[in-house]
């Protein structure tokens, strides 16, 4: 009995030591800053911050740029993005380049605390030291903001460093940029931007019960809490672009609209805040990488559940009343203003979450240099009940040769109430 207790304690200690050691992997010594940042570093850092869409989380709606405050809702509670301006007390004013690198590469803060992976260091770990230094130089050039950081609102045990250490031991490993000599420089650059700085996988992959990215890279997943579905970038039935001409992929990333699709919801924010500002060569690189992603199709094609005729009849009636003017009697749309619904994979894809969001909330594409006045879709949240919305979507998913599955009123109720 006593011996068993000793063994158990010893095992626990060994486990704790292993977790501790795994959390220190690939950490560099914290050397003081050697030189002041150069103007070229600052300019480069400003561009890289765009490419990483850092301000998307680190700026509150209407707040000072990079002063933090925006809450990122997760199934474990809300994590608030901190102030990145060089304020000595509330921002990065007392940080060194080496500490910043440790945050980006190892997910550890200047004071040694482990950071929550809502900050996507799980992807950013792949950026180069030079890019990290440039980002830091840029952030140090911003006007300091005295906005205090908001404490995260997380429940036990997620609010403990011990839980975070265990999570990191299991799911995080510091990485580096891939270099594949057999591929073109454009592909390698694209991989760097997509897998690292752009942290596309943070949304475009499924997450396990503990919130770690799981499943295949860029294989698509429901964004927790927001409940928008970030489609697979490798699946031709979702948002895979292997079959698209390269210039169209570039156009989608740069302007938000392309002949084969358009961005909406959270991706509209990414295009507007980040991708539409990138240099053409970088967009071509990302497009090259995305086009060559290994093709994948959903393991089990969803069975085409028959859509009940009553729903179809009501759905068609509602379609003729509310949708037909823009999307056409045969779902043909009116390019480039209004997308076709017939043969549109965003309509027929397994998850109908985005369709429900779009009809409930309406929306504009991002206003970009190439598309400064996007056409808008009206919201129907006030006008249509859950049952009506479900029937019009079921109709659209089954009409004109579309082979999508039925949308139930319960699906709509859940998304309308944010569950």
């Amino acid at each position: 009995m006593r011996r068993a207790a000793i063994v158990a304690v010893a095992m626990l200690l060994a486990l704790a030591a292993a977790v501790f050691a795994l959390n220190l992997r690939d950490e560099s010594p914290l050397v003081p800053d050697a030189a002041a940042p150069t103007a070229a570093q600052v300019a480069r850092g400003a561009y890289l911050a765009r490419a990483g869409n850092c301000q998307g989380c680190h700026t509150e709606r209407g707040g000072a740029p990079y002063a933090g405050g925006r809450g990122i809702a997760t199934p474990f509670g809300t994590v608030y993005a901190p102030n990145l301006t060089p304020h000595p007390e509330h921002g990065l004013g007392r940080w060194t380049m080496a500490q910043f690198w440790r945050a980006m590469h190892n997910g550890r803060s200047a004071d040694g605390r482990l950071l929550y992976p809502a900050f996507p260091y799980t992807e950013l770990t792949r950026i180069t030291r030079a890019d990290s230094d440039a980002l830091f130089a840029y952030l140090r050039s911003l006007p300091p903001s005295a906005t205090p950081n908001r404490p995260h609102a997380l429940g036990f045990p997620y609010n403990t460093q011990a839980a975070l250490a265990v999570w990191r031991a299991a799911f995080f490993r510091p990485g580096q940029a891939r270099h594949d000599a057999a591929r073109t420089p454009a592909w390698n650059r694209g991989a760097y931007l997509v897998e690292g700085l752009g942290h596309c996988n943070a949304c475009h992959s499924s997450r396990n019960a503990l919130g770690a990215s799981s499943g295949s890279a860029l294989g698509g997943g429901l964004i927790p809490i927001q409940n928008w579905y970030a489609p697979s970038l490798s699946d031709a039935d979702e948002a895979g672009v292997a079959g698209w001409p390269l210039p169209e992929i570039v156009a989608l990333l740069h302007s938000g609209v392309a002949p084969g699709g358009r961005v909406t919801g959270p991706m509209a924010e990414v295009v507007g805040g980040s991708l539409s500002h990138l240099e053409p060569d970088d967009l071509i690189a990302m497009a090259t990488y995305l086009k060559e992603l290994p093709r994948e199709t959903a393991e089990v094609p969803p069975p085409a559940a028959p859509i009940v005729p009553a729903a179809l009849e009501q759905g068609e009636k509602l379609y003729r009343r509310h949708c037909v003017d823009c999307h056409g009697a045969q779902g043909e749309g009116a390019a480039p203003a209004y997308p076709a619904l017939a043969g549109n994979r965003a309509v027929t894809m397994g998850s109908a979450a985005n369709l429900v969001h779009i009809v409930l909330e309406g929306g504009f594409g991002p206003a970009t240099a190439d598309n400064p006045r996007p056409y808008g879709m009206p919201p129907f949240a006030i006008e249509l009940s859950d049952a009506e919305l479900a029937s019009v979507l079921s109709y659209v998913r089954g009409a004109w040769g579309n082979r999508g599955t039925e949308v139930s009123p319960l699906d709509v109720t859940r998304l309308r109430n944010g569950r």
Partner: protein
């Protein structure tokens, strides 16, 4: 760099044009067409709200509309549907949207005949609107919103032709800070000086007034504003 992208986009356009089987229907290249997302709720041409708490847009002063659009996008006003719609739009587009709706010169829908206001409401309402309450340092509505209450170009809105529910909701939101204007937020001062009872009386009184035809905003106020107001030309001492 830029030229290379242009070339790519041109090629993309060319590729897209090739397999065109039937000519797609022509969508009018107008703001009215682009802004059907707005008129679904705000009524055809933004002329009259279809729902009691949604305001009308047509003919409101352009800067006022622009500030409200920015406010929804930037968190000074709280309504998730509006914030979501405006989130991906630029200041330049918001400005065009504001000017589009401001330029529509449409007659207001007549206020439907209503039972006469109780005498107490009629008196108290008229007094607050036209004289304010000096004891509480409450300015008259007309001091800022114009003697006809049809607003003042380019940044002060009119107060007539608005549903009573909408007025109650907005004054309430100002008092609790969920609706804010550009700083210094004069309307927040005024709303916080009002009592619950005042809010009810004002909303009831304003919603019952006939709207003059045409209801154009005044071009200028006869006297300076009674307090500092952000976003209003001459509203902030420099």
């Amino acid at each position: 760099m830029r030229r290379r992208l242009c070339l790519f986009l041109l090629l993309a356009a060319g590729w897209a044009a090739l397999p065109a089987a039937a000519a797609p229907p022509v969508v009018p290249d107008t703001l009215a067409q682009r802004l059907l997302a707005c008129t679904g709720c705000h009524g055809p041409q933004g002329r009259a709200a279809r729902f009691p708490r949604i305001s009308l847009l047509a003919g409101k002063p352009a800067d006022y509309l622009f500030h409200q659009l920015q406010g929804f996008r930037d968190g000074r006003r709280q309504y998730a549907l509006m914030t979501g719609l405006l989130d991906p739009l630029s200041d330049a587009y918001l400005r065009e949207i504001a000017e589009h709706f401001a330029s529509l010169d449409l007659p207001y829908a007549p206020v439907p005949p209503q039972p006469a206001l109780p005498v107490a409401v009629a008196q108290r309402g008229a007094q607050l609107v036209r004289e304010g309450d000096a004891a509480r340092r409450l300015p008259a509505c007309t001091q800022c919103h114009g003697s006809a209450l049809t607003g003042v170009a380019p940044a002060i809105p009119g107060l007539l032709g608005l549903p009573r529910d909408y007025l109650v909701a907005q004054l309430g939101a100002w008092r609790t800070g969920t609706r804010r204007a550009l700083a210094p937020d004069c309307m927040a001062h005024v709303a916080r000086a009002l009592s619950d009872d005042d809010v009810g009386v004002l909303a009831q009184w304003l919603a019952a007034q006939p709207v003059p035809q045409p209801a154009h905003p005044a071009q200028a106020l006869p006297a300076p504003l009674p307090m500092e107001c952000g976003g209003v030309p001459g509203g902030v001492a420099r």
